[in-house]
């Protein structure tokens, strides 16, 4: 179990908190110390709206350990409205087909159990179809 790590990432996982560059106003997710646009220092927090569209997607049939019981599931590259791209699972699809360009929004969902059935349940962001 990696409890400090889950705790450390809570703002990103629950609220999609990234950063805004104070020099060029570039929106950054995941947070990083150097703005990829202008190279300046970037540490100012910024909460993303959670709205975006599917840039690409894949349905995973052979999952890494920790995710085996969830397979098959669909992962997407989501282009957020504010600019950056995020890797995340799509949820609530109800067997309807996914398309590139499909509008989506962030929701909070269970990701996996860290450890056995007594391990902590990890929650985080997934994206669902936006109507």
């Amino acid at each position: 179990m990696e409890i400090p790590r889950h705790w450390r990432l809570k703002q990103q996982r629950y609220s999609l908190v990234g950063e805004v560059c104070p020099h060029c106003d570039n929106k950054i997710f995941p947070p990083r110390d150097v703005c990829p646009n202008c190279g300046g220092e970037a540490k100012e927090l910024y909460a993303f709206s959670g709205k975006g569209e599917v840039y690409s997607y894949t349905t995973i049939y052979e999952a890494p350990s920790g995710f085996d019981t969830s397979a098959p599931y669909t992962v997407a590259l989501v282009k957020l409205e504010e600019g950056p791209m995020v890797t995340a699972q799509l949820t609530d699809l109800d067997n309807t087909p996914v398309e590139i360009g499909m509008p989506v929004e962030m929701v909070t969902r269970k990701m996996r159990n860290d450890g056995d059935e007594r391990g902590i349940i990890v929650y985080g962001y997934k994206f669902r179809r936006r109507t």
């Binding site: 894949t58 052979e62 599931y73």
Partner: protein
Amino acid sequence: MRKIAILGIGQTSVDEHWDKSLREIGGEAAFAAMQDAGADKVDALFVGNMLAPLIDGQNQLGTFFSDWIGLWHREAIKIEAACGSGAAAFRAGLMAVASGDIESALVVGVEKMTDKAGHDVTAALATAADADYEVEQGVSFVGLNALVMQRYMFEFGWRHTDFAPFSINAHANAMHNPFARLHEKITVERFEKSSMVATPINLLDASPIGDGAAAAVIVPAEKVASMPGRPRVVVAASASATDTIAVHSRKDPLFLSAAYDSAKRCYEMANVEPKDIAVFELHDAFSIMTALSLEACGFAERGKGVRLGLDNEITPAGRVPICTRGGLKARGHPVGATGMYQIVEVAQQLRGECGKTQVDGAKIGMAQNIGGSGASIITHILKAE
């Protein structure tokens, strides 16, 4: 910097070596390279490996192998750059000898992957990606490549079946490589019907893992004479470049900028152009990577890499021969060893030792090894003299 020659090469077959340990596999390739070089000692050992700490519970591979091989008391170190570890180790050895600090080096790329179950290996391979923001979302390493492939097909209008020639060529060439993991020809029909791993990547888009090791002994070129029937193989260029660790951070996820950067630098160093490259051992971990590598290295325009396969240009008799010994797809992909297999195979081509997949008159060859989903890319150009 001094010019460096490859004095000896060695490799094990890529396979499920249930009967052999990490030690024995690495040792086998190392001894083969030393024997081929006619050397019984080298000044230093460089080991390329990615997964031994995760799969075999073994770190300290420098000392681990210098001890096993009998190179006691010398400098020995492991270099890691995910699936690019092999070429990264080769480049480290190259720099050490070229600088004049040491007079010879043995470089071994080694990986023992079959001691753990499939989903554990899948999880171990995913450590090449961003643990907090990619892997934590449940995306496998195949999945990351699948995201790239899906978008590529969408943007450039290719169908899945258009990638088939890449895998068919790799399998056909591996038929003539005794060290290859897979010895079976495949057809377009089989390629299309293969089981799905992560859409649109199926089993025949993806390279198989395996146990394996490949090695080379390098020395200053001035110490090696060209012999009749066995030309001197020298390293004409070496360069390494990086991109973001996560695919989602790339300005253009469909362009391998680190392949472009390292290949460009190599072309300048060796004073050659893509058309001068007689054989290109590229990193076809997935069929999409073949297309992107061909594009980034100047063999095809953006979005048109697939065309080279469809036009039959990639076979040993074609204009851009790739994967001439089977590539990652059919020789197999023992991840940290793969970069050294590529170096060994290009050396074999330049020596003219490739039999039915020999590229006629090959004098210049390129090897390109990718760590992660394009995050760390090391390119080498070798020349026969």
